[in-house]
Every structure is written in structure tokens, then in C-alpha cells.
Amino acid sequence: MGIIYLDNAATTAPNMPALEEALSYAKENFFNPSAKYREAQDVSKKLNACHEVFLKAYPKKKVVFTSCGTEADNTAVFSFCGRGNVVTSLGEHSAVNNAVLKLKEKGANVRFAKLTDGGRVDVEDLLKLVDKDTSFVSIVHVNNETGAINDINTIAKKVKAIAPKCIFHSDGVQGFCKVSVKLCDEIDLYSVSAHKIGGLKGVGALIVNPKLATKPYLFGGGQENGFRSGTENVLGIVQFAKVFVQRYANIEENYQKVLSLKQILIDGLDKSIFRVVSSNDASPYIVSVSAVGLRGQILQNMLNDDGILVGTGSACSSKNPHSRIISSFIQDKKVLDGMLRISFSPETSAQDVKNAVERLNFNGAKLKQVIR
């Protein structure tokens, strides 16, 4: 039996046709786009064309390519946090969470909004934390553990109504090309990553409100119009642009397809063993379920032996055994112990999900018998 890969929120298989088309930029067109001879300038033009591809989808923004989603998040936090307070949520990816904690360590006033069931940001609580001195707000678009979708357009507008001068950032890594959103003017910064949609690891981007001042996080040769120095990952960016075009055009269609996968999973799971933690209106790409009272890590090992790869909320550890995000809105230790994260891609087949459900139920029942 082949492998059934259901950890697409961690990374996806790279889109091979796009990679093959882009491969010439690792072979004959290897030139440094900053060089001035014709060959290198051709590479530079190709990069410009890649920017254009993104600008078609985000006409009122500009795009800065980075080395990953984490770099995009860190650029947002460290370049745009001002003197006033910083507001974020308990549901942020570590790339934002640990960055703002670093600011806090240096003395910044950082405030965390609570999450509601399913991991969505409690908007009422968030707006209470924002005031006219707020300089920076960061709210994740789609929660990376539960798939909970935050309505970032509405949130950004409400935040700016209170703090018109603050910078609004959203980590869009799990929402990008998966959950349809037309970024409004109030969203200043939006982080994305290539390898979650069939791109290569080592490429990300920060989608930026062009009215913002250029505030680089990396200094050097002034690439990306001075916003992000460092020789561009041309191969990765070219492949990313090609994948992006396809995925952006098919967001709705893919969403419906993946939604049906989520439904197969939820309908098929043995409810005497599993509890679905993700809510119905969450992104269908990520489904968090708990094998209540069992250990997610053991189940993950058992599924691994069956050729089924799924994620756990976090590693089974004695020091910090539970997910930071999920434990902020679920206190039941039995639910937290059993967390598994199942995440799809549009390439996932319905049959694969059916097979996985069967093994989930089988192994869950087996484990339940062992652990009294």
C-alpha cells in the first residue's frame, strides 16, 4: 500500500510540472539577477514578471518575496511594531507568537486576545484590548491547528476604527490560496508561504500595503526594492508564481472539493472514540480531532505503520504536553492528550480519506482497549 499523506498543513508535495518549468533557473539561467549583463537582466525581468503575477491577484498591494512564512511574520513584527502597545491573539503561529514575546521581553506592552471554541479569535475581547495607542495588531487568518477562520477584513476595519494609525498584519500562511478573501485596504501586511500550496520550501512572501514606508528586516544589497536584501531564490520564486496562478484561479473549486473530504472524515469517524475539535465553519483543509483519553502520538505511530501520515497537535512530551493554542480554549486534559491534526490538499483523494478513516477507527479502538 502506498502512503496516504494527510499532513498538508505541515507541507505539501511540490507541484512537479511547475518545478520542471522553473528548473532552467537552477540550470542554464543561474545568473544573479542583480548583475548587469544581459543574461542576468533576463533573470531579473523574470522576477519582475513573478511580482506581476501576484499583483494581478492583489492589485492594490505590493509583494516582497522572503525565504519563508516565518521570515515574513518576523519582518512584519520587528519592522512595524511601533512605540505603542501590540495586540495579537492566543491563536497565533509560533512565528508571530515568539516574535511578539521577544518584543515583550524587551519591554513592549503586548496583549493577547482570547479564542472562542474552535480556535477563532474572540473579536469582542480583541477590540477591548485595542486603544488609540495600539501600534501593531497581528491576527492569524486561518489557525494552523484547528483551521478556524478569522474574518480579517472585518477585524481590520474595526481595529482601525479605534486605532487608525496602527499597522494591521495577518499571518495568511494557512489561508492563502485556500480560503477566499479579498484583502481590504485596512490589511497592511499579509504573510504567505509557498510550500503549503505545492511550492518549494525556502520561499515565502509578505504582501504589503504600498503606502507603508519601506522598513526592511534584512539589510544588504537592497533587493526587492530595498525591502528584503539577499540574493533572490529565483528557482523557488518562479515555481511559486506558476503554482500560485493555478491555485488562485481554483480556490472556490478546491474549497468545495476539500470540504467534501472533511465531510467524509467527520461522518466516518467513530464518535465513541473521536471528538472533532475544529468547528464546521473552519477551513476544511485542517481538521483537528481528538481521540479522547488516548494519546495522539501513539495513534500517530500506529497510523504511520499503516502508511498513513497525520500530524499531532504537538509532540508527546512531559514538559509541555499540550498544544499552546488548543489548550487556550479547551481545558479537558483527555481531549488535549488525544489531539491529531488531519490536513488535506486538493490532490487528496476521497478514497484515501475513506481508508484513513477506517484505520483511524481501527487503531483508535485497539488503543482504547489497551489503555483502560
Binding site: 494519546r295 501513539i298 505511530n301 509532540a315 508527546c316 512531559s318 514538559k319 489497551v370 483502560r372
Partner: protein, 385 residues
């Protein structure tokens, strides 16, 4: 002037006619440990001299020496021609930057050298004071450092100030071979270290409970084996799949006896592997009363299924004392990596603390002990570092 390292050994002095055997093991251990570093090893009376090495390797050599049992101490030293001016010049160089009280010890093996030892020490002391009198003072009773001058019969003189202590002990291999039960926690690597220090060569045994414990937990045990191997000169790790036995106990025996019965199976399997591999003892990291399986009753129960001696070097140690040693031998950071060991999943809520032998035997009679032990021995993975 060239750099050398003086290596001194301990206890081997005490070993009358066996001295040659111990010396040979120690020399072998040093040579094996330094096999990838170009150097020469010269044997002197009651000590060795490492010479002709590249200065860049100095730190690595010291690091490796510090982990060889039987090494009492070592000193970085300089060798010069046995000539007063040269010796004085070298002493000045070694003392440069030092502060506190000092004395000069001279040992004149070469009786042709013109100055007798006490006079030589006085003269050199005078030279040093003349230059560094602002920083150093003489104290022959309790000096903060000594300048040692060893005038050899070869016409060369060894000079050193620092004496760095090794772990002491006996060269590994001088006290037979044991099988260490290596769990992945803090205690067992320390237990292994303690017996290796007394000259015991070791192999190790780990019980793996996949899928109840992760592959990472096994990787961690392999890392620990690697860290222990620096002291033992290599280590063979036997990995036994323990899951089936755990499931059987779980299914057929009372919950509170889970750990007690597991320990008995572990000891049985350990002894078979020990005998098969020429080991003469089983080594565990048990410490009296630390957990339910380490009460005197529990230890009696697990001990009673084997005839080989079971060495428990940590039996009288507090947890904090064990942690202190594990930090000293660099295993602590790995031991506390957060992966579960095989016991935690099947951990009963209320384990039997003082299990009665007849209760244990009755519970165990529900299992085909011999068949379970045999089947576990059929599939042993070996990992050698």
C-alpha cells in the same frame, strides 16, 4: 621549548603484580581515544608523556584524556634543555599573568645537574619574584599554585604549573563486563558511568515499546549510548521490542502489578542477553525508594528471577546527587528531552509499592513467561557506537 602533556595514573600503583595488566589497558585506552590525532606516547616512570602533537589538537586531547578512567590527572607542560637560564626563561613564561601565592618544586633526577633541588627552587623563586613581585608572593606551605621543575636524566627538564584532575578510577576492561539497562532517563547513564569508572566494560540493553513510545525516544537512547561510549570506549546497545509483553501483562494481570511484572520480564531478558554476550553482571540505575518499582520489596521481586549479580551503584543516591553527576558527564541534557519511556503509557494509577511474592507469582502464572521471553529474544536489534 616544546609542549607536552603529562598524564598520571592512580590506584594502579596499588596493584602489585597485576600492575602490568592495568597499565596495558590504560595505554590501550589512551591510544584508542587519541587514535585519530597525530601524537607520540612515551611511557615514563608512573606516568605517560604525550608529545609531538599539533598545538591545535591540544584542547581535544585534554577533553579526551579527561574521559579516560585510570587517569588521575594531567598537566600541560613544557620541555627545555636542562640549563638554568632556559629553565628560568620557561618558568617566567608559565607564570606570566598568574596571581596569588606560589612555590617552586624541583625534582632533580639528573644528579649531574650542578644545583641541588632546594637551591634550584630558591634560585628560580628569586627569578620569578624579581619580575612578578607585584602579583605573586611565596608561600611554601599552602601556595595557590606551584611551579614544578622536573630535571630528567635525559638532559631535558619538564616544567608545569597546572594539574588538572581526571575522573580517576580504573581502566575500562580491568573489572570484567556488565550489561547496563538503559532506559533513557537520568539515572541509567550515571549508573553506567559509575561502573565504567571502576573498570567495568559495558554493553547496554534498552526495552522499546513502539508504538507506545516514539522513534524519537529510541533515538534519544541511542544518543545516550553514544555519550556513554566516550567513557567506555565504544558501546554495544541491544534493543528489545517489549510491546507484546506489556500488552500481555496488561491484558492478563492485575493493573497494580504492571510495573512489578514488567521489571521481572526485563531482568529475565537482561540475564539471557548478558550471558550470551559474556557479561558477568547486570547494571541498573535503581535508587532505593525513588519510585514504586524501587522499593526493597520491588527490587527483591525483580532480583529473584536472575542469578547473575545485579549492580545498583546509585542505590544510596538522592535524585539531586544523580543529576549532579549526569551534568558532569554531559548526559543530563539528553536525558531530560521530553519523550516518554516505556513505563509511562502503562503506568497504573496505584502501582503496588510492596508487592507480596505469592501475589506476584499468582499473577504471573496467567502468562507463558518462558515463551514470551524467548519470543522477545528472537528479534533483538543491535546498535553499535
Amino acid at each position: 621549548m616544546k609542549s607536552v602533556i603529562i598524564v598520571r595514573y592512580c590506584e594502579i600503583h596499588l596493584k602489585g603484580k597485576n600492575k602490568k595488566f592495568f597499565e596495558k589497558l590504560l595505554i590501550n585506552a589512551i591510544q584508542k581515544s587519541l587514535s585519530d590525532i597525530p601524537h607520540k606516547l612515551a611511557v615514563m616512570n608512573a606516568r605517560y608523556l604525550i608529545e609531538d602533537f599539533n598545538e591545535n589538537d591540544y584542547d581535544t586531547i585534554c577533553e579526551r584524556l579527561s574521559k579516560i578512567f585510570g587517569v588521575h590527572s594531567y598537566s600541560p607542560a613544557k620541555v627545555v634543555k636542562s640549563d638554568f637560564d632556559e629553565i628560568a626563561k620557561c618558568c617566567l613564561e608559565l607564570v606570566d599573568g598568574k596571581t596569588g601565592t606560589f612555590k617552586v618544586n624541583t625534582n632533580r633526577a639528573d644528579k649531574k645537574f650542578p644545583l641541588p633541588s632546594p637551591q634550584m627552587s630558591r634560585e628560580l623563586g628569586g627569578v620569578l619574584l624579581e619580575k612578578y613581585h607585584e602579583n605573586i608572593k611565596v608561600d611554601v606551605i599552602n601556595p595557590s599554585f606551584s611551579v614544578n621543575v622536573d630535571i630528567r636524566e635525559s638532559g631535558e627538564t619538564l616544567i608545569y604549573t597546572d594539574v588538572i584532575k581526571g575522573f580517576g578510577g580504573l581502566p575500562v576492561g580491568s573489572s570484567g563486563k556488565g550489561l547496563l539497562l538503559l532506559s533513557g532517563g537520568i539515572d541509567s547513564p550515571v549508573a553506567g558511568f559509575m561502573l565504567a569508572k571502576r573498570g567495568m566494560k559495558l554493553e547496554a540493553l534498552h526495552f522499546h515499546s513502539y508504538p507506545y513510545t516514539s522513534e524519537q525516544a529510541l533515538d534519544k537512547v541511542k544518543t545516550l549510548a553514544k555519550l556513554i561510549s566516550y567513557f567506555t570506549g565504544g558501546l554495544k546497545l541491544h534493543i528489545v521490542k517489549f510491546t507484546h509483553i506489556q500488552e500481555q501483562i496488561h491484558e492478563h494481570c492485575p493493573e497494580e502489578l504492571m510495573i512489578t511484572l514488567m521489571r521481572r520480564f526485563m531482568m529475565r531478558i537482561a540475564e539471557r542477553i548478558s550471558v550470551k554476550n559474556g557479561c558477568q553482571a547486570i547494571v541498573t540505575g535503581e535508587s532505593l525508594g525513588q519510585v514504586a518499582s524501587q522499593t526493597v520489596e520491588s527490587i527483591t521481586s525483580s532480583n529473584s528471577v536472575v542469578t547473575q549479580p545485579v549492580f545498583r551503584p546509585l542505590i544510596g543516591f538522592d535524585k539531586l546527587e544523580i543529576i549532579e553527576i549526569s551534568q558532569k558527564i554531559d548526559t543530563f541534557e539528553t536525558s531530560i528531552l521530553p519523550y516518554e519511556d516505556c513505563c509511562t503509557v502503562f503506568l497504573p494509577k496505584f502501582p503496588a509499592i510492596k508487592p507480596k511474592m505469592e501475589t506476584i507469582l499468582r499473577a504471573e502464572s496467567a502468562l507463558d513467561v518462558e515463551a514470551l521471553v524467548e519470543s522477545a529474544l528472537q528479534d533483538v536489534e543491535i546498535f553499535e557506537v
